[in-house]
Point group: C2
Chain length 241, copies 2
C-alpha cells in the first residue's frame, strides 16, 4: 500500500495544473467536490481512464490528498451523467458503453433543448441579440481555429435558450450533463468543419425569431442530432496513447 505512494505523489505534481485550471465557473463554491468532478470528467472524456476501468475511491482520494468523502460525492455526480456506473457494494467503473454513452447525450440534449426552445419561443423570452452575439463569437473562434472559445460561445448560446424557458428543473438537468466540458471534446473530432458548426446555429436563431414554436423546437433537436452522427471523439483522442 505504501509502495504506491511515490508513483502517486509524482503524478500529483502533474495533476496540480489540471486541478487548478478551473474551467469557467466561480471557484468560491464547493471547491473540492466540484474540482474533483471536473478533473475526473476530463480524464474520462479525454481517455485517460479507459472504459471499464475501476475507480477506487480511496485511491483517488490519496492521489489528490483529500479524503474519501469528496471523491465519493464527485463520483456520484458523474454517475448521474452516465459516465460512470457504480454497483452498490462493488465499486465504480467507467461506463463500458462509453463511446455509446458519449453519443447518448445528444439525444438527451436534443430532448431538453427541443422543449426549452419550444417554451422559450412561446414565451418570446429569448434574448435574440445575445444569441446573435454568441453566434458572432463562434464565427470568430472558428475562423481562428480556437476550439475552446468556440465551445464557450456555443455553451453560452445553448444555455441562454435553456434558461429562457424559465424552468429551473430543466435548467438544472441540462447543467448536470456537463455540457461545458463535453462540448470542447466534441469539437476535437477530426473532420468537423468548425465554421459550419458555428453557422449551424443561425437556423436556430431564425426559427426562434419566426415565433413558430414547433418549427423552432424541431430545429433545435435536429441541431443535436447532427452531432450524434459524428464519430466518437474518444476514438480520435486515443491516437496518441
Amino acid at each position: 500500500m505504501t509502495e504506491d505512494m511515490s508513483e502517486l505523489r509524482s503524478e500529483r505534481a502533474s495533476e496540480a495544473i489540471e486541478f487548478k485550471t478551473g474551467s469557467d465557473t466561480d471557484f468560491v463554491n464547493s471547491p473540492l467536490r466540484q474540482r474533483l468532478k471536473d478533473v475526473l470528467l476530463r480524464r474520462i472524456l479525454g481517455g485517460a481512464y479507459k472504459a471499464g476501468d475501476r475507480l477506487v475511491e480511496l485511491k483517488i482520494a490519496q492521489e489528490f490528498g483529500t479524503s474519501q468523502a469528496p471523491v465519493r460525492e464527485a463520483l456520484r455526480d458523474l454517475e448521474a451523467t452516465g459516465l460512470v456506473i457504480s454497483k452498490p457494494r462493488r465499486g465504480t467503473y467507467v461506463a463500458e458503453v462509453l463511446s455509446e454513452g458519449l453519443r447518448e447525450i445528444y439525444a438527451v440534449r436534443g430532448a431538453l433543448e427541443e422543449q426549452a426552445t419550444r417554451l422559450a419561443t412561446v414565451r418570446q423570452s429569448c434574448d435574440l441579440a445575445m444569441l446573435e452575439l454568441e453566434l458572432q463569437g463562434m464565427r470568430v473562434a472558428a475562423a481562428a481555429d480556437d476550439l475552446t472559445s468556440l465551445a464557450e460561445h456555443s455553451v453560452k448560446f445553448h444555455r441562454a435558450i435553456v434558461e429562457a424557458a424559465g424552468n429551473r428543473l430543466l435548467t438544472n438537468l441540462w447543467a448536470s450533463l456537463n455540457i461545458e466540458t463535453r462540448t470542447t471534446i466534441t469539437l476535437l473530432v477530426d473532420g468537423i468543419d468548425l465554421m459550419e458548426a458555428a453557422n449551424s446555429h443561425r437556423q436556430i436563431i431564425d426559427a426562434i425569431a419566426s415565433g413558430d414554436s414547433e418549427r423552432a423546437s424541431r430545429v433545435a433537436r435536429e441541431h443535436q442530432e447532427n452531432f450524434e452522427r459524428l464519430p466518437t471523439p474518444n476514438t480520435k483522442l486515443r491516437k496518441d496513447t
Copy 2:
C-alpha cells in the same frame, strides 16, 4: 444538545414505519442513502416540510440515528431534482418555488418522454403487449379507487417506453426525477378523474402502434402537459395536517 434526544427519539418511532415502507425498488442496494432520500422526498411532497424550511444535515441525521454523510448524499440527490436548493456553505432549503417546481416536472417529463417515445417508435422496440397490460392494470386500479396501484402501473407504463428508447442516459435522468414517488402525489389531487387518467394512456399506445414517430412523440408530450394544468397537489394534501 442532549435535551432534544427525548423528542427526537419519540419521533423516531413514528418514522420507523415511514422508514421501512420501501416504495417499490429493491432494498438490497444502498439502503441508508436511498431510504433517507425516500423519506425526505415524501415529507417534502407531502407537505411535512414547507417551502423555505431549512434542512439541517446533523439534525436529520440525529433524527434517524444515522450519521451526517448519508443525509448529505440524500440531500444532494434531492437537489438534482430541484426539490431542495442548497447554497454552498449556507445550508439546504426546501425549494421556495415548490408549487412551481412541482409543475415544472411535467415539462421535463414531457421533454424526456417525447424523445423516448420518438426513439422507441422508430426502433419499434416497445413491448406493446406490456403497455396494454399496464393500461388494464390502471383501469382496474382506477375502478377500485386504488391510487397506489394506479400510480405503480402508470410508472411501469412510462418507464417501459423510456427504457425502450435504449438510451441509458435518458433512462437515468428520467429515473432521477423520482417519478415513482411523485406520481402518487399527483393523483391525490381532488377532482381528477382516475378512469380518465388511466384511459388517456390508450392514445399513447395507439400512436406508438401506428409507427408514426412524430405523432407518437407529440402525444406523449401532450399527455404530460395535461397534468401540468392541474392544481398543485400540495395544497390538497394539507387537509389532514
